[in-house]
Assembly symmetry: D2
Homo-oligomer: 364 residues x 4
């Protein structure tokens, strides 16, 4: 046995390590990770969710009725609830008359409304009513509960930075003493005050930074801006796309979770690129596919899919109408920590070759 | 003659000064200034402006057809074009078919549209079309020209930080080689991209700070936000009021000139306060009065009036409908230099006694 | 079998998860992590390092001669080279005449000099010479090599954010084409220019943000400031302690890795507290112990120990002279992401009871 | 009389102005100002100051014994105490045993120590002792008094932003109820804590922005940094020069007043340039001259001279030893308001021709 091998072995016994053996594992030439791309069909998610609606009663024992996306490769590593290395996505169902009781946590959360109306999210005592396509924020450590005053089931997407907060051992959670946090502000008050992000009430002159003063970003407005944008040139990688921002900072609406809506016009095929940040997409409407590292992921209205870090990707709209993709990402973190990079795919005119087609698991 | 008096005299001869005699003039217990409040009637301004429309042809000899507000007390000090110590306000007329030729200057400028339509302001090659009640920015050192494709005279308010820039000896001006700066961007493109300040095109992710990416703030939107705000409590000093902001910073729309729109509902009488920053008001519509340091300034649609620094003021709407007051101010500067202060009037329930009524000069 | 159990099972098969079962694992009431506290004796580390000095030749096959601290509990999870969830610490040996060849990586790195002199670190072409107690920065993605012009072995501590960058899939690495990056700047030039952080050369007026313009923080200066501080009241938790800062921002010297030096006077016993951020300590000199979650970790000159996230800790100097503890931490990240919290230990007058004593593994 | 002339006249009567006549006065192609360059000899200032020392007793009637620099051209405009459009400079004498009583004002102030020792400035209860060459800050609205515990007269330079604050009508002043503000902090405590700007006590982790935590910048340190800098290339316009900075921001030590120290080695002749910001110089030691807009201003130890905005200037050291020039300027304001510009003199190899020599007024 060589002397150096023996040294390596001895080091291990005292929990020291020989960097000369391991440097390449710690400091890799390019990002090395276990996050795989994946796609879930809406029919599958919805079916189980409605089933849970029949079987599960909300209360302090089960505070939320949510089916979450579990990245298969991360599950193998024991990482429960991870869609990507940083992001969690769930789909939540609230039935008429129900209350998802008040709590707060150090994780940031966003809601994107998929179907139904008449439900609300209350943030620190202000109720914001939901409509399909709206984005609603419940910033980290704000008290929030959800209630439903309507007549039909409401379903929405939840996005939280579960992985991020777990990586940093920063999770804190607190239930509120009552199911419903006291209402202290007019319903939709923030939206009244900041219906447009370009005007600030003079009484908020001292207000700076986070959380965003705007809690709800209405679909009607977002859709209109995307219509307007369509008169200009599209972004080569994202088509017509906007980030939701906090008008007090010009940064992302939530401090840590990025939120983006993009519109792909019929036939649009964007160029491929990759970036360090990861994302989870939800198809608001339309049909098409996304090629991720050479694999074709076909999507239609309601589907969800995962874009891992540093993965080549390009989008195609194959439908007759516009497709709208909503996504959450961890770009704000990458930028704050100066870890973001982006690279354009420079072969084949910027388009990948398809080497495989993803087959989604259907309901059992 | 006393020894100290002789010393004081000798000092003066060599351009030295005895602080023991002058400290109280340099460092006053409260702001000491020469800016007087004043008010101009719309009929007067408009009459002269239309007259100028007949007598004056636009060109490189006379680049703009503008009648400006000259604060009488500052004129005595030789300060030409000063409305307040920092701000200039003019009223500009552009006739169908005319072009106010392209130039740029280190002064910031804003435009607030008063009457007519069909005219545009072009900023660095992008045309923004004007409608009554819109705010349009021409940030410092951007190329800009104005043109008119409509059929009726268009009149707007100009606001510049002439006094500020002069105080700092920072004036630079450059005419463009052609009358019209080349159009390089789709008309109203910025407005398309930032119709709401809460969404940012992904292609602008790197865009930060100033100038604001939004050049035009439409009256329709501003009015709607003020309607929304009216469901909440009014600000005690300003009624229902918003600042126009740069959605990339949460600060004022222009780096140096503050811009505010306020709505006073019928019968509303705000409380009195004072602040270091000064302002110039324009009455978009409605009628009422403002009490400034005990003097009543009665206003109606179209009028302009000056609020000097550190002056008690309160507003009253005496009309049957809402009154809208647009104003520019130098608050952004005061905040950047940490010079702002505000004080509530604590006597008489927060309301001043009227000791005089201002009589505006009518046209000669 | 209950219907809900069956639903739970079916969900798992299609990589969906029932939040009602798992919420408590994702969103914990307090930080839940696998990072254990640990301590390594200097004799052990040094013995192996010198042995490696005999057995290992530096070159492109083995670029650095470093023995790193491997947290035992994180090793079980397959996390190689992790001292804490975010931080890596190694101890490096460079022999006279050697060169550790030039490369760059997206991980930030700091060096803290433990013994010897005559060696240097070169950052982007500027050589900084090492002396015991100095902190030297090699900011993320800067080219750096180490050389040795002296006559005795030099040993230093390396600190990198390996865990952080891996969690975010952000690792990039590039070797330089030559062993030594060309010298382009006077040796120690940054230190000449920024010997004190309170003065900035006028030619750097435009320089802002990161990386810090100061690359080397000399022990002589740090020691003097700690002496000065000792005339004032100590910090209850850290004694006399300073953070190394970037004088262009007032934030941490490195963008992502926090660096702190603290002095404990003889007999000093600090109060216990805990915080989300984790740390790795190196004992520059002195002897004493630190109680972490009730376990006593005894330390002396040269030792290293790990403070996990959200762990109660207090320090005691049992020696006749001052003790100096240098540490790195991930506080800058926690602050940028708004995840930091701190809590004082409020029982027993602020001091923990000792329930166990850690027994370090001696060399085999 | 022409119709337009008549219109112009009528406008004037109602305090309206014809922009077509005045645009060129308000918006000038280059900075247009009344600030003239000037120079005062130290013998003159000192003689009068000592005379005042005999004639004037300090107290609430005459709080400070200061002879100030009065720019002759600004005096003609009634601007009392203006050295430049924004800056005031005075020279203050304090005799052993005296107290200059406590007050505060919205003007920022800096002190630069010229001769003597044993005196102190107290800022919000902390005394900082003076030595020749030190810079001491008394930030805006901090309580401050000066006392003298030594045996010889102490003389220092005061710099305040009197013109700036007056232009903005922002002056506030308040005398303290006692002559001496209560001492509440250890003498020189800030200096102990921040002897170098690159280390921050952990107990100050939350401290951000202004005022600077460092109140006193010692000459010994500044001189050493200038020595260090002299091993590198000089700045073409300023020789070896540093700005005093606030280590918590990387910006100027005082929020509004810039402070700079420069060293000119024997024979050094810097190149000419101009910038919008103005400055007042004090010759700490050495002899030479500065050419301002073609006029030669000869200076020696102790002299003061004014550099107006946008004026060509270059410095020459004609002495056998180093010359040190301390100066204050309004650059921080220009940068905050985005009004700064700089231009190199591109004729004659970067050097002006001398067209005149300034003759200082000697004492009468």
């Amino acid at each position: 046995m060589k002397a150096l091998d023996r040294l390596n072995e001895e080091l291990e016994k005292v929990y020291l390590g020989p960097l000369w053996e391991k440097l390449g594992k710690m400091v890799t030439p390019e990002p090395d990770h276990e996050v795989m791309p994946y796609l879930w069909k809406w029919e599958t998610i919805r079916k189980y969710l409605l089933e849970a609606g029949e079987l599960l009663r909300l209360g302090r024992e089960s505070e939320r009725r949510v089916v979450y996306l579990q990245n298969p490769s991360l599950l193998k590593q024991g990482l429960i609830g991870y869609s990507t290395n940083t992001l969690y996505v769930g789909v939540q169902l609230l039935l008429p008359g129900e209350v998802a009781p008040a709590h707060r946590h150090s994780q940031s959360a966003i809601r994107f409304i998929i179907e139904g109306e008449g439900a609300y999210t209350a943030v620190d005592g202000e109720r914001t009513y939901m409509e399909r396509g709206d984005l609603i924020l419940t910033p980290a450590w704000t008290w929030h509960d959800h209630g439903h005053e309507g007549t039909e089931p409401v379903i929405w997407m939840d996005g939280l930075d579960v992985g991020l907060v777990r990586n940093f051992a920063g999770s804190f959670f607190e239930p509120y003493s009552e199911d419903v946090f006291p209402v202290s502000v007019p319903h939709n008050g923030s939206t009244f005050k900041y219906a447009t992000g370009a005007l600030r009430p003079v009484s908020d002159r001292k207000r700076k930074g986070y959380p965003s003063p705007l809690i709800s970003y209405k679909w009607k407005t977002t859709k209109q801006v995307l219509e307007n944008l369509s008169k200009l040139d599209p972004d080569p990688y994202d088509g017509y796309a906007v980030d939701y921002i906090n008008p007090l900072t010009g940064g992302s609406a939530d401090l840590r979770i990025g939120t983006t809506m993009q519109k792909l016009t019929p036939g649009m095929h964007t160029k491929a690129h990759r970036h360090v940040h990861s994302a989870v997409y939800h198809v608001l409407d339309g049909e098409g596919y996304t090629i991720i590292n050479g694999v074709k992921f076909e999507w239609a209205k309601g589907d969800f899919f995962i874009l891992p870090p540093w993965s080549w990707h390009e989008h195609v709209n194959t439908g007759a109408g516009d497709a709208h993709l909503f996504s959450i990402n961890d770009l704000p973190i990458m930028e704050r920590l100066d870890l973001e990079r982006e690279e354009a795919y420079d072969k084949n005119g910027g388009y990948q070759s398809i080497i495989d087609v993803f087959e989604p698991l259907s309901q059992v």
